[in-house]
């Protein structure tokens, strides 16, 4: 498929919510690190399924069930290609990236992390790649260690190299949902695996925004969420290297994940279905295919380029505005399209509330990364985060609305 040049206006026109009015204004949606808006191709796929071939998968031998099964598995193949995995056996559907990480903690972690082991994460982690390891380490009497960051918001690689030796697991995000920091996961995976350490990469903030190749990256596990990349909520992906997934016990138990069940024993289904117990989120998985196709038509390289351009413009405009503190790497090649900031005159909650009156949607608070905020001595931040449909005009609206914040709340 030949990639189309990214035409922001055209993308915007594909997303129905952008034609609605809020307080009489169109929506300047700058909370893409929380979730993305959906193009009509994805929304229509949901309606088409429920109206045209709603049925359960992997069971029925009638036409619509076979069609649903084919399309469900077609998404798996699309995900495989999208992240560069070798086989669809390595692609497991979950509810979200959080569940993908919990699956690893509760199955692989349960059988592989032992007393005295060290589990290595970074101070950048979202709670979803932190709490599962905290709880696992408490239960196993293992040690949870944090890789620090440097003053410019990038990961402290010297600290990592010191701690990597002998660690059982490295679980690290590829892009921070607060500072936007892009973490050099490929280099880290190379070092970690040389030390015999298993590597999990949280791709919730990277897979939607840049080209990902799990084979090239050299990780053992990779997690992502559909809803952050134009797809529906309720679908996540866990990529796992085949030999590791094969050795892992199942996660949830029940229908579809079994091969044979007798009154006193059961055997497990083949990969990847061993990890997909019960009726899956069929409709949303099928619709997720259309999100991946949409992104691939644009090409992830042009999505990334567009976001770098918007982020560059936004950083300049926010610096010009004055009185703001911007966090995260200044070097755009080390930064995703996320800008966390604070304002001297106003609390992040108040900023977001006043911006809302201007139909500018941003996030405020800890963004599920409280340890990171604590390490920076911040009581919360305001955060603008961009995607392929955002425009410079929306950045201008953000800056104008910040002027209103200062007008209303300035002391």
């Amino acid at each position: 498929m030949e990639a189309l040049a990214l035409d922001v206006e055209k993308v915007g026109a594909d997303v129905p919510i952008f034609s609605k009015l809020f307080n009489g204004k169109t929506l300047a949606y700058l909370d893409n690190a929380a979730t993305s808006q959906k193009p009509k191709q994805v929304i229509e796929a949901l309606t088409d399924f429920y109206e045209g071939y709603n049925s359960n998968i992997h069971r029925g031998v009638y036409e619509i069930s076979e069609r649903a099964t084919e399309e469900y598995e077609r998404t798996r193949e699309a995900v495989r290609g999208f992240i560069g995995a070798g086989s669809t056996e390595e692609i497991v559907f979950t509810r979200n990236a959080t569940e993908s990480i919990n699956l690893v903690a509760r199955t692989w972690g349960e059988s592989n992390v032992r007393e005295g082991d060290r589990v290595l994460i970074s101070v950048l982690e979202h709670h979803s790649n932190l709490v599962p390891w905290q709880v696992l380490c408490q239960a196993k009497h293992a040690k949870l260690e944090y890789i620090g960051i440097k003053g410019d918001g990038t990961l402290d690689m010297d600290d990592f190299k010191e701690k990597a030796g002998g660690a059982r697991l490295l679980a690290v995000t590829q892009a921070s949902n607060v500072l936007g920091t892009i973490v050099p996961v490929k280099e880290m995976a190379r070092i970690a695996r040389r030390e015999g350490c298993t590597v999990l990469v949280d791709g919730a903030q990277s897979a939607p925004h840049m080209k990902v190749d799990v084979n090239d990256m050299g990780c053992d596990f990779f997690a992502l969420s559909s809803h952050k990349m134009l797809g529906p909520t309720g679908v996540g992906v866990l990529y796992g290297r085949k030999d590791i997934l094969e050795a892992m016990p199942p996660f949830n138990l029940g229908g579809d994940m079994i091969s044979e069940v007798h009154s006193c024993s059961a055997s497990w289904n083949e990969l990847p279905w061993k990890f997909e117990a019960g009726t899956s989120n069929v409709a949303d998985v099928i619709a997720f295919y259309h999100a991946i196709s949409y992104l691939e038509r644009m090409s992830m390289e042009s999505v990334r380029e567009h976001e770098m351009r918007i982020t560059d413009y936004a950083m300049d405009r926010l610096r010009e505005f004055g009185g703001l503190h911007l966090y995260g790497p200044a070097d755009l090649s080390k930064r995703a399209g996320i800008i966390a900031f604070t304002m001297d005159d106003a609390h992040p909650h108040d900023i977001a509330a006043v911006l809302d009156r201007e139909a500018v949607a941003i996030r405020s608070g800890y963004h599920c990364a409280q340890p990171l905020h604590e390490s920076l001595s911040l009581g919360g931040t305001a955060r603008a985060s961009f995607y392929l449909y955002n425009t410079e005009a929306e950045v201008d609206r953000l800056v104008a609305a910040l002027g209103k914040v200062r007008e209303v709340l300035g002391r």
Partner: protein, 131 residues
């Protein structure tokens, strides 16, 4: 959220909070925070002859949480302990001009009242029933 949130009364109290101090010898004090957004309030109350004689608060956080705390300190002056105990959230919201708060920010508004009760209950039970 409508324009009705940042009412004059809220902005006035936010910009110039009343009773913004910690009492030296309070009868009771308490502090609490809203973990989701980091709002924090410390409230200290002095009781004389069964009534609130002096109130102070310090804190940091959003305009709603800080203004609500300031308004609460005015509201409870001179009240009896039973009146404090029976105080409902509607009384505080009314004193704030009934801003149109959503489900998230109502917690910011009610943090100070929650903090008051947190300090009040142990103080009342230690004191025993009112004569």
């Amino acid at each position: 959220m409508s324009d009705e949130v940042y009412k004059e009364i809220i902005l006035d109290h936010y910009k110039n909070p009343h009773n913004f101090r910690q009492l030296a010898e309070p009868s009771f004090k308490a502090d609490d925070s809203n973990p989701l957004c980091g709002d924090h309030i410390e409230l200290s109350v002095k009781v004389a002859d069964g009534r609130v004689s002096e109130v102070g608060f310090i804190g940091k956080g959003c305009a709603i949480s800080q203004a609500a705390a300031s308004i609460l300190t005015d509201l409870i002056q001179g009240k009896t302990l039973d009146e404090l105990k029976g105080m409902e959230k509607e009384q505080l919201l009314e004193a704030m001009g009934n801003p149109d708060l959503g489900p998230v920010r109502i917690k910011c508004a009610l943090l100070s009242l929650k903090t008051l009760k947190l300090g009040l209950y142990p103080y009342m039970s230690a004191r025993g029933p009112t004569p």
